[in-house]
């Protein structure tokens, strides 16, 4: 019964989405209020309907209703409750349902929070959201129905891939999708602006919060994914330039570029066409990512299905969306005239450089990701493009980007004074050279790239702090007045500083862990001790333990520095029964200074076990830094200007809705 209700409301959602995609457009063209207003109601109904479908599928999973094929294939009655629920989106059909649900959620958010948008713009944005919804709902209903029944129902399900039974991964897809789908809103705004033929600073101000939100979620989603790879795969790595990772990284880079170019539109009324194009490209890359990951073109843990019909559907959808939007862009973009002029050395110029470097980096990654697919399709040759390519192309583009990151915020709009800025950054330059010099003095054999990375870390961290302290005039007067200035400074300015510091911390984590990582690989017998990275690891043997749906060999390690009490680490080698599969569970002791990482492998039959021990200095800062970046985004998002929309609209709104302007965020 639940499945039928789910199926029914999903069809209802499709019909609503079709209406939502058509009527508001007519309404906006003819300035018909009721037809434009319809968009709000449609967005609400669509959200309710997909929520209903999602609840139905969740009920199927929670009650282990094995008459639903999707539940049978991906769940098991013995699975812990958290993974029964996360299993809803741990498969192809369910994850698409989650995609559509988040799409509808964003549609509803536009309808609710977009109260001060002009009616026609809002109607058009919601119409475009509706059209995207039509595509995804049709895809679900015609090729990937999560509510398909199976008769006779089996006694038990075949279980969820144990690698996916993990708290980090339970939340990775929802966050990543919030980011992917969040970019659909900026896309819809861009298409709506192209239809209207008008982009102004107010438009950029409306678009920016959505970009910020999407960017923040993408940051968290990618960080969660790499954290999962780090502790769950047991290889000690956290980023492999795998096509699946690139599929999420490219939209992130594009969103980062968009975030910065929208500032130029907002403040200086320039770079309009470019910003619109970026919004289209960012969402296209999200769709492409979904296509690459879901169609089975790439083989990985993410490729749930390789049904050709699905691949063809997504490909057609992709061509329709990307081709259609670029065509509209080509027709409409020349009509939009750029506004403010500026010199190459200026805040705008720095943001243009940021955009150039980010989009070029995106393009090289896209090339490396798609090349093997095209080569296979056209010549049948199987190749893979490995990390060396991505490192050789991405890093040289990232280095000037980070250098410019510290300089840009100091530059004035329109015409900046580079010499003056560099003199104000002397302290940062000095500190980074001191750090690099000190490390080189300690260890002359340090690779050049490591020195560069650490220098960039110090440069960006100190540069960002200098810029912030200059804004609040720290130590230039009484502390109280600095505090007052801190409070007066728009939150988005604080947000920028925080996010840039986050990037610096990520650079620290990557560089330090790559440079000073030490490891031990070998067979250890109970009682043996090895020294890795200044810690003594004593192996106390291994035993067999039983988990809820697995059996494991669990090793015991005691890691201690000389004289210290030490910590116990319990790595496991798990044997799951449904589906039958082994997984390696690394035991990690994360600390701010370093991670201790132990993996236990197979026994040699005489009491010894193959083990791998890593000491990874500062690696936690990769994820701490990512979280700091997210916090920076959240801080910017809470800026009053963004919540209120454009000032001229806000003035009118203020009288009507005083509670909105007084709201805290």
């Amino acid at each position: 019964m639940v499945a039928e209700i789910g199926q029914f409301v999903l069809i209802l959602a499709l019909i609503t989405a079709i209406f939502q995609g058509v009527f508001p457009l007519f309404g906006a063209a003819r300035s018909s209020q009721p037809m434009m207003r319809f968009a709000n109601n449609a967005a609400f109904v669509q959200f309710l309907a997909i929520t209903g479908a999602f609840i139905c599928l969740t009920i199927g999973y929670v009650t282990s209703d094995f008459s639903i094929l999707n539940v049978t294939n991906n769940s098991h009655s013995l699975k812990p409750m958290l993974y029964k629920i996360s299993g809803v989106w741990g498969n192809h059909e369910g994850s698409l349902l989650l995609w559509s649900w988040i799409l509808a959620l964003f549609g509803l958010a536009v309808a609710v929070f977009g109260r001060n948008l002009p009616d026609s713009l809002k109607a058009r944005v919601l119409a475009v959201q509706g059209m995207i919804g039509v595509g995804f709902l049709m895809f679900i209903l015609f090729t990937s129905n999560p509510f398909e029944r199976i008769d006779p129902a089996p006694l038990d399900g075949s279980g969820l891939n144990p690698l996916l039974q993990d708290p980090g991964l339970a939340f990775h897809p929802p966050f990543l999708y919030l980011g992917y789908v969040g970019l659909s809103v900026t896309f819809s705004f861009a298409i709506a602006a192209l239809i209207e033929g008008r982009v102004d600073p107010a438009w950029a101000r409306w678009v920016r919060p959505w970009t910020l939100a999407a960017w923040g979620f993408l940051t968290i989603g990618i960080a969660l994914g790499s954290w999962w790879a780090y502790y769950e795969l047991g290889w000690g790595g956290w980023w492999f330039w795998d096509p699946v990772e690139n599929a999420a990284f490219m939209p992130w880079l594009a969103a980062t570029a968009l975030l910065h170019s929208a500032i130029v539109v907002e403040k200086r009324d320039a770079l309009k066409n470019w910003t619109i194009l970026l919004a289209i490209v960012a969402f296209s890359l999200s769709l492409l990512g979904t296509f690459l990951v879901r169609s089975g073109v790439l083989n990985s843990v993410h490729a749930f299905a390789s049904d050709p019909a699905r691949g063809v559907f997504i490909l057609i959808f992709l061509i329709f969306v990307i081709g259609g939007s670029l065509l509209l862009y080509g027709i409409r973009a020349p009509m939009m005239k750029g506004g403010g002029l500026f010199a190459p050395i200026s805040r705008e110029g720095a943001l243009v450089l940021n955009n150039l470097l980010l989009s070029t980096a995106t393009a090289t990654i896209l090339l490396g990701t798609l090349y093997p697919i095209f080569l296979d399709a056209f010549t049948g040759a199987k190749v893979s493009v490995g990390p060396p390519y991505f490192e050789a192309t991405f890093l040289p583009l990232a280095i000037p980007l980070v250098i410019a990151m510290a300089v840009g915020p100091f530059l004035a709009w329109k015409r900046g004074d580079l010499a003056g800025v560099i003199s104000r950054l002397t302290f940062a330059l000095l500190l980074s050279f001191l750090l690099v010099g000190f490390i080189w003095w300690q260890q002359t054999a340090t690779p050049v790239m490591s020195l560069v990375g650490l220098g960039l870390f110090a440069w960006l961290l100190v540069g960002s702090l200098l810029e912030w302290s200059e804004r609040v005039k720290l130590f230039r007067g009484p502390l109280l007045s600095s505090w007052r200035r801190t409070k007066q400074l728009p939150r988005s300015a604080h947000g920028m500083t925080v996010a840039h510091i986050g990037v610096a911390l990520v650079i620290l984590g990557i560089t330090a862990s790559e440079t000073w990582q030490t490891e031990h690989l070998g067979v250890m017998r109970p009682g043996e001790t090895v020294s890795v990275g200044g810690y003594d690891f004593r192996f106390d043997g291994a035993e067999t333990v039983a988990g809820p749906n697995y059996e494991a060999v669990r090793g015991t390690f005691l890691a201690s520095t000389n004289g210290g009490k030490g910590v116990y680490l319990f790595p496991e080698q798990r044997q799951y029964s449904t589906p039958p599969m082994e997984t390696t569970e690394a035991a990690i002791r994360p600390m701010l200074s370093a991670d201790l990482y132990t993996v236990i492998g197979e026994t040699d039959g005489t009491g010894g076990y193959a083990v791998r021990i890593y000491h990874k200095p500062f690696i936690s800062w990769i994820w701490i830094g990512s979280f700091v970046m997210f916090l920076g985004g959240a801080l910017s998002l809470s800026d009053r200007r963004l919540r209120l929309g454009a000032p001229r609209r806000a003035r009118r709104q203020k009288a009507a809705t005083p509670d909105l302007s007084g709201a805290k965020g």
């Binding site: 047991g234 450089l353 990390p387 390519y389």
Partner: protein, 146 residues
């Protein structure tokens, strides 16, 4: 600064960055393209020692030999077989008779030194490259793949 001049600057800057990027791509592409070869491919077209590539096929039955953390085994497409040595912890699903993709190079003795054995994430899953290699070798049984 006129609009035209500004556009010129942009175009020049863009060309510069793109030019640098193109140079980076061209210089690194050749070296970092990793080809996939099956054991039969290697008999037809041998690869010189030291060149990095991916070798894929099935782990030959009865070939796995462990010595501490060093594992020796053979990768086969059921027509030809290549001896492989690997130092490290093998992925969870490494088993005799299962599909495997390894990345590495030939040493002077004609043994493939694997620097990486790629993990599969699923019991029933056959890497598509391996499936193709088996099809080419005429040894493909559809029930092997999932």
């Amino acid at each position: 600064m006129t609009r035209k001049k500004r556009r010129l600057y942009f175009v020049l800057a863009g060309m510069c960055v793109l030019g640098i990027a193109a140079a980076l791509v061209l210089t690194s592409f050749e070296d970092s393209l990793v080809f996939f070869r099956s054991p039969s491919d290697l008999v037809e077209k041998p690869i010189e020692p030291g060149r990095n590539f991916r070798l894929g096929g099935l782990v030959e039955e009865g070939s796995v030999e462990k010595n501490g953390v060093i594992t020796r085994f053979s990768v086969t497409d059921l027509n030809e077989a290549v001896p492989v040595t690997f130092e490290g912890l093998l992925p969870d699903l490494f088993r005799e008779g299962q599909g495997v993709v390894t990345e590495g190079y030939f040493n002077k003795d004609g043994v493939f030194v694997a620097t990486n054995v790629l993990a599969k994430h699923d019991e029933n899953y056959m890497p598509p490259e391996v499936a193709d290699a088996l099809k080419k070798a005429g040894q493909w049984k559809p029930e092997d793949g999932g």
